[in-house]
Symmetry: C2
Subunit: 277 residues, 2 copies
Amino acid sequence: MNQQQLFEQIQKKQSFLCVGLDTDIQKIPRHLLDTSDPIFSFNKEIIDATEEFSVAYKPNLAFYESLGSQGWESLEKTIMYLKSKYPEIFVIADAKRGDIGNTSNLYARAFFDKLDFDAVTVAPYMGEDSVKPFMTYLGKWVILLALTSNKGALDFQFLKDKESGDQLFESVLKTSQNWGTIENMMYVVGATKAEKLKEIRQIVPDHFLLVPGVGAQGGSLKEVAQNGMNSKCGLLVNSSRGIIYASVESDFVEKAKLAAKDVQEEMSELLKEAGLV
Amino acid sequence: MNQQQLFEQIQKKQSFLCVGLDTDIQKIPRHLLDTSDPIFSFNKEIIDATEEFSVAYKPNLAFYESLGSQGWESLEKTIMYLKSKYPEIFVIADAKRGDIGNTSNLYARAFFDKLDFDAVTVAPYMGEDSVKPFMTYLGKWVILLALTSNKGALDFQFLKDKESGDQLFESVLKTSQNWGTIENMMYVVGATKAEKLKEIRQIVPDHFLLVPGVGAQGGSLKEVAQNGMNSKCGLLVNSSRGIIYASVESDFVEKAKLAAKDVQEEMSELLKEAGLV
């Protein structure tokens, strides 16, 4: 999927919502545990309930890996279901991978060939040759960690380079722009630092940004939109727990739908204010 | 496994060799493709042939994930085989994971609970709360990326902090020492920068270091030992391709054994020179 196609989906649905499929076997409604694949059953129900209001889904790999090969099977089924039933949906592997070149090649194969993800999140620490292999697939994307939303972001991401004066996350944004284009790179920018979004938009005006941490992690959607939107929207805002665990009872489908609809309605207003729909 | 037990294994085998199980379906001998699980069959043969000469094994997860849930099954079988047949072997998941706290918790569950790895490699970019969850398991280890052996290491790992003057990899070494102890943390230090090992030993004199890149990636074992050894050896040196693909013909078992034996003999000499055996 290219940038224009993604923007068209955003316009069509008046939404830039990404639903995080952080599916935890210990948190899903009990009655699903009787199905042959509870994780997949849950995802399927959540996807069908929320697809109308969202343009992207983002399974976090940790939730699947914690169940071993069975979890990996649930992931495979989820992606196949998404891609066959909703081919216009953008699907992100939140995997935070990154390794030496020939190994990153294999991760790319895992997520783009073996599975049909549109994008994968990648950690920048190992530099260019750990990131570039993910960008050799036409229509596929790297989403590089720049500024994360957790407390540990303070440990290294704000260290200031002696020579340029740039903080590490700024160096990551600047240096990595030479590795790809606005058609195959996005950045992760934590929403708990909404005031930082303005600065980041100076460095990467045209890239899409994946913003986690709105809702449960405390960011404000309005602030994110005001500081981060560009002429193609340029934002995917993720919500996980606030939607998928809106209820853990038998009404979870209905409640997830309502939660996604709420977010979509707010997004629709923000897109209208920006003159994008 | 604690540090003393690892050192005892090193003394017993006169080896600090870690064999990298970077098992690529496209590179293993063709006759194995007829077995029900070629990846596991290959690993089993390689392990049996080299165990006498090595203290650790390190599957790189990318190789398994690139085969989807089947690859994950091969990995599960490999770990179970290792742990049941050779319980004194140290097994490292070369996964380079790292995510926000509650998600890193799930990765820890994946590698330490669901699988019985002794250690997992972790990327430092997201800071303390992304690393600590791996250290809550008694006898299990985090191996944090500090200085990697690839070209991309130059992109960010050498950026100099304005305030302290430390390069990023030095900041990682210094800051992360507060997160764990010499009993639950090691560091990845690329051997192609053997001259850097001396500097690194000033910062982390007592930690174990995992050194990739000897052999195929060009480091010298002698230099690594001279600059990196401490009173408990303090080194695990990895070799992957040089051993597991010493031959890709039907004599691969024998050739892998000889390659591992060669490295072990050199290591034995180096340990003797250092007065450690």
